[in-house]
Every structure is written in structure tokens, then in C-alpha cells.
């Protein structure tokens, strides 16, 4: 991006990235004890807030997951019983887990593929890039609740615009294809939510990919053209490797986002997760347990299982990236 400051000192020597300037400071050997205390003053507001609303709750969530508690009576310590229940006996948990996985494996690849296709198309020095970018990014800034309401109406079987288009297609082609009863069908409710999620987020993926594509030096393409590489070869051998860090970044954050899907199924299923739990996600199930079934301990246990699963998937991605992500020399 044009806005960034010189990144030289950011890509530092350790994971925490000591700045070049700090190294010089260290050499000078100045250690002003007054500035010590000053630093803590700067940190204090943020530190207190994070301790109170993040660190403490993390500990709280651990304890919570080991008790049975409906928020009213006294909490009863049950040890790992909540975990054992959700991992071995709870059929609904299993369903929510499978639904969540469904969303991850459908939304993430589609999101990346469509986002990349749009970004490549926009990166072709054609007219009107600005306008296209504004349009594609528009859903990203809108409220997900409002968007989900609109999609719920679009997927209405009798009078929704999507169903109408399918009716019309069936009539004009003589195939008489009828639209499914999207949100009332356990087979079609999930694809409807996938479409909403894609519509809502593909602009973000596109914009991030576009930033990645614009960083590829155009001379490389010229050189490859001279060598007789065709469009696909140039894409495969220049573009894909050079934007692989962007792909990796998007893969990880879209995956985490898809694991945490809540508002979309919540609004589209009118807060029920139906039909027959077909759109119940893990976060949705956490919400239900905590605030509908009065089962705080179980909700906390599900939250931890979700976290561990996201964590493992991220680790796997991070391990796999060595095989396909190319960093320029000197970076990462």
C-alpha cells in the first residue's frame, strides 16, 4: 500500500521484531529509570482493560467449563463432565460440528477462488476499476443482520426473487424445474447461507488479492511474454507463487471466520438454527446453551473445543504453508 511507512525496520530480527532504532538505543546504553515507570503508565489503561475483559475471562471460561450452572443457583463442580458429554453423547453437538465444517469447506475455497478471479479481472488495466471496486466492496460494509434479512426474503419459495428466477427458467426452457423451499429444506438451507456469506465477504477477499496483485512487478510478465509464456502459464508460474502469502493470509482468516459463523444462520433461520438443526453452527449452539438452555458450563466447554479446533487447523495450515507459500528473499 502506498500509505505504509518504510517497512525496513518492521521486518526485524525476531518474531517480536526489534526495530533498527531500538537497537541503536540499546547501544547507547541509556536506561532511564523514570522512563521505565512512564512506560507502565502508557500501558496501564490498555493493560487493565485487557486483564479485566480478556485475560480474566479466559481463566473464567476454563473454570466455567468445569461446572454445571444455570446462572441462578449455585454452580456445581462437575470436572470434565461437560467435555465428555459434548464429545461422546451429544448428538446435537455433532450436528453443529458437522454443519460448521460444511461451511468452512464450502465458503473458504469458493471465497478465495471468486475473490481471486475478480481481482485478476480488475487488475487488467481496464476502465472503471474504481466503480467495480466500490460495488463489489459494498456488501462488506453493510450490516450482516440487514443483509441476512434481505437474503431470507430473496430465498422465499413463493415470492422471493431467486425462486422466481428458477420458476421462470423452468417455464421458459420447458424443463419445469421448481425451486427448492430453500430455508425450510434441510438440504438447501445451508447452500443459501453459503451464498449469503459469499456475497457479503467476497469483496474483502477481492480487495486484499488486488493489493497483492498490484505488488507483482509488471516487468516479470513482460519477460515471460518475451519467453513465449501464455496467459495461463504466466498466471500459474508468476502470479500464483508471488501472491501465495496473500492466499495463505486469506485462507487462515477466512477459515477462522467461517468457524465462527453465527449471525448469518441466526437471522436466516429466525433464531432457531433449523430446519431440524440443519443450520446450527457451533457458535450458535454456544449461544443456545448459554442463553436459551441455561447451561453455562456446557456452553463454555463448546467454546473451548471450538478454540482448540481452530487452533489445530491454523497450526496445520502454518505447517503446510512451507510447501506452497513463497516469501521474497529477506522476508519472513
Amino acid at each position: 500500500m502506498a500509505l505504509q511507512p518504510k517497512p525496513k525496520s518492521v521486518t526485524g530480527d525476531s518474531a517480536i521484531g526489534q526495530g533498527r532504532g531500538l537497537a541503536r538505543w540499546r547501544q547507547a546504553g541509556r536506561w532511564n529509570p523514570n522512563r521505565q515507570n512512564e512506560a507502565y503508565l502508557f500501558l496501564l489503561p490498555s493493560l487493565i482493560g485487557l486483564l479485566l475483559f480478556t485475560a480474566l475471562p479466559i481463566v473464567g471460561a476454563l473454570i466455567l467449563s468445569l461446572v454445571r450452572w444455570n446462572l441462578v443457583g449455585a454452580p456445581v463442580f462437575v470436572g470434565p463432565a461437560n467435555y465428555i458429554e459434548i464429545l461422546t453423547r451429544d448428538q446435537i453437538f455433532r450436528k453443529a460440528f458437522a454443519n460448521t465444517l460444511y461451511f468452512v469447506v464450502t465458503v473458504v475455497p469458493l471465497q478465495l477462488a471468486i475473490g481471486l478471479a475478480l481481482a485478476v479481472a480488475l487488475n487488467q488495466a481496464i476502465r472503471g476499476i474504481q466503480i467495480y471496486r466500490v460495488i463489489y466492496f459494498m456488501p462488506v460494509v453493510t450490516s450482516i443482520v440487514a443483509a441476512a434479512l434481505v437474503f431470507q426474503w430473496m430465498f422465499n419459495r413463493d415470492f422471493g426473487v431467486i425462486s422466481a428466477a428458477i420458476w421462470w427458467f423452468g417455464e421458459t426452457t420447458g424443463t419445469n424445474i421448481a425451486p427448492p423451499d430453500w430455508l425450510n429444506s434441510s438440504a438447501w438451507a445451508k447452500p443459501a447461507i453459503v451464498l449469503l456469506t459469499l456475497w457479503k465477504n467476497v469483496g474483502f477477499t477481492m480487495v486484499i488479492y488486488l493489493a497483492g496483485l498490484q505488488a507483482v512487478p509488471p516487468e516479470l510478465y513482460d519477460a515471460a511474454k518475451v519467453d513465449g509464456a501464455n496467459g495461463w502459464q504466466r498466471f500459474r508460474n508468476i502470479t500464483m507463487p508471488l501472491i501465495s502469502p496473500t492466499t495463505f493470509f486469506l485462507l487462515v482468516i477466512q477459515m477462522i471466520g467461517a468457524f465462527q459463523l453465527f449471525s448469518e444462520p441466526f437471522v436466516m433461520s429466525r433464531g432457531q438454527g433449523g430446519p431440524a438443526q440443519a443450520t446450527l453452527t457451533l457458535v450458535f449452539y454456544i449461544y443456545q446453551n448459554a442463553f436459551k438452555f441455561g447451561n453455562m458450563g456446557k456452553a463454555a466447554a463448546i467454546a473451548w473445543v471450538l478454540f482448540v479446533f481452530i487452533f489445530i487447523c491454523t497450526l496445520i495450515q502454518n505447517r503446510l504453508q512451507r510447501r506452497w507459500v513463497h516469501y521474497e528473499a529477506g522476508e519472513g
Binding site: 500509505l3 505504509q4 511507512p5 525496520s9 518492521v10 517480536i16 526495530g19 531500538l22 541503536r24 538505543w25 540499546r26 522512563r35 512512564e38 512506560a39 502508557f42 500501558l43 489503561p45 490498555s46 493493560l47 482493560g49 485487557l50 475483559f53 480478556t54 480474566l56 475471562p57 479466559i58 473464567g60 471460561a61 446462572l71 475478480l118 479481472a121 488495466a125 476502465r127 472503471g128 459494498m138 460494509v141 450490516s143 450482516i144 443482520v145 440487514a146 443483509a147 434479512l149 434481505v150 426474503w153 422465499n156 415470492f159 426473487v161 422466481a164 474483502f204 486484499i208 465462527q260 449471525s263 437471522v267 429466525r270 457458535v283 454456544i286 449461544y287 467454546a303 471450538l306 478454540f307
Partner: protein, 283 residues
């Protein structure tokens, strides 16, 4: 921008046409829900329940909007969303930039350990901390108050991390020169580092504001009375009470979306930059 592209890199006319066709059909898919929403919000019930669907409402039922705001206090929802989102944004930028300044520009005992701790909290998803926070808010008797809506999301390790990365890129000579002139750290933060961080602060501001303006789960669980609901939650209540009054639901959606869309179209460059910079960790 166009003029800067050398002639041999511009696509051929036929390819250009295909690209535009592809992008225009995509744009149509992107815009269709907005148009469908607007169209339905202005229809009378008989026009809604027809096949094939009508796109242009006739007559235009402006009364839908009047009815929507009369059955749900959308003015109050706006006010709440505005208060909550802007308070969170101000608090988060303030506390994060102070902490980021300490991490990036000051030396102190335990800096690396503390910073690692900040990074570690980034991994914990909100769903884990949400339940204890809910209990904490109830204990403090803050359930259904502005404090509960504002304070838990007001402190962010992510924003601190983002700003620290940016601050590290600013030349340290500036601090040193200012110190020789007798400036305090606080003054360096306020008068040197912050003014030089305009782009990243603007990006973060838009990102944080919009995320909290559109946030749903936390305001949903931590509020109860209709007076404390934010726009997204208010809209979902409208859905619960008027589930088949599609013209009212769409009018409500328009009411909820419109201000953000207008501001977005006016400042689209900043918005997209805001998301790109924040999304990419300040780069």
C-alpha cells in the same frame, strides 16, 4: 492511472469486452439484493405477493417507512449504535495507541513478555470470553447498560499490535530530537507519533467503528430492554415480531443500511484502505 499503463500492457479490445461482461454480471449479482430490498420496502402487500415479481412499486408506498419507525424505535436504535460504536472507537484508539507507543518507542522491564501476552490473547476467539464477560457484567449490575455494551470491546490487543507495527516504522530520530528539546514522552506521543500516523489511525478508526456498528452477538446477549438495543439487534426483533411483513422488514433493512452506505460511497477510498490496512496488519 490509465495513462500510466504502457500500451503493450493494456488488454486487447475483445479481451477487454469479455472482462467487462464478467465484471458487470458480477456487479449485477452484488447490487441485486440492494435493489430488491429497496423495491420491496416501497411495495404494498398485494405487490409483494405476486408472481412474477414486480421491480418497480406502483403505487410507491412511502407509508411503509412511517409504519416501520412507528412500530420500532429506530431513532433510539440509531442513537444507541452511534453512542456505542463511537465510544468503543475512541477508547480503543486511545488505549491502544498509548500501549503501542510504549511497546514501540520505550524500553522497560518485561516488554517482550508483556507483548507476547498481548499476542497470545489475539488467538482466543470472542466466543470463549463472551460468557465470563456476560457473568462479570451481571455481577457488576451492568447488564442492559451502555457500560456493558462499550467497555468489554473497548480494549484490543489487535489494535495495539497494528499500531505498534506502524509506530516501529517511524524514524526514532524524531523522538530523540524532541527529547533533547525537553519534550516529555506524552508530548512525543501526542504531537509527533500520532500526527505522523494519520493513515493507520484513519484506517483503524473506520475498521473499529464499522465492526462495532454492525456487531450483533454481544449487543444481543448483553441487552434486554428495547431502549438499549442497537440497530442490528433492533432489526432482528422487528424480524421476530413482523415475520411476514416483508415491506416493513425491508424498510427496516434500508433504514439500518442507508447511513453506512452513504458514508461509504462518499469515502469509499478510505473505507477500502481501512479494511485493507487493518486486514493486513497495518501493511
Amino acid at each position: 492511472m490509465q495513462a500510466a499503463v504502457p500500451a503493450h500492457r493494456r488488454p486487447r479490445p475483445i479481451k477487454s469486452l469479455l472482462l467487462h461482461l464478467f465484471l458487470i454480471s458480477g456487479s449485477a449479482a452484488m447490487l441485486l439484493p440492494f435493489i430488491w430490498m429497496l423495491s420491496t420496502s416501497l411495495k404494498t402487500p398485494p405487490q409483494i405477493f405476486t408472481y412474477p415479481p414486480v421491480w418497480l412499486p406502483d403505487p410507491i408506498a412511502w407509508g411503509n417507512y412511517r409504519e416501520t419507525v412507528s412500530v420500532m424505535p429506530f431513532g433510539r436504535f440509531y442513537l444507541n449504535s452511534l453512542i456505542v460504536a463511537s465510544s468503543i472507537t475512541v477508547l480503543q484508539l486511545l488505549t491502544s495507541s498509548l500501549a503501542a507507543f510504549a511497546f514501540a518507542r520505550l524500553r522497560f522491564r518485561g516488554r517482550n513478555a508483556l507483548f507476547l501476552l498481548y499476542l497470545a490473547t489475539l488467538m482466543i476467539p470472542f466466543q470463549v470470553t463472551m460468557l465470563p464477560n456476560f457473568i462479570l457484567m451481571s455481577w457488576l449490575r451492568w447488564f442492559d447498560t451502555y457500560q456493558a455494551l462499550i467497555l468489554p470491546p473497548a480494549f484490543s490487543a489487535f489494535s495495539t499490535f497494528l499500531l505498534r507495527q506502524y509506530f516501529l516504522g517511524l524514524p526514532l530520530d524524531l523522538d530523540e530530537a524532541a527529547r533533547i528539546d525537553g519534550a516529555s514522552s506524552f508530548r512525543i506521543w501526542w504531537q509527533i507519533v500520532l500526527p505522523l500516523s494519520g493513515p493507520v489511525l484513519a484506517a483503524l478508526m473506520i475498521f473499529v467503528f464499522l465492526n462495532n456498528w454492525n456487531d450483533f452477538l454481544w449487543p444481543l446477549v448483553i441487552t434486554d430492554s428495547i431502549e438499549m438495543r442497537t440497530l442490528p439487534v433492533g432489526l432482528s426483533i422487528l424480524q421476530g415480531q413482523y415475520s411476514v411483513r416483508w415491506n416493513l422488514l425491508m424498510a427496516g433493512s434500508v433504514i439500518a443500511m442507508l447511513p453506512v452506505l452513504i458514508v461509504y460511497i462518499l469515502g469509499q477510498k478510505l473505507f477500502i484502505q481501512g479494511f485493507t490496512m487493518s486486514g493486513l496488519g497495518g501493511r
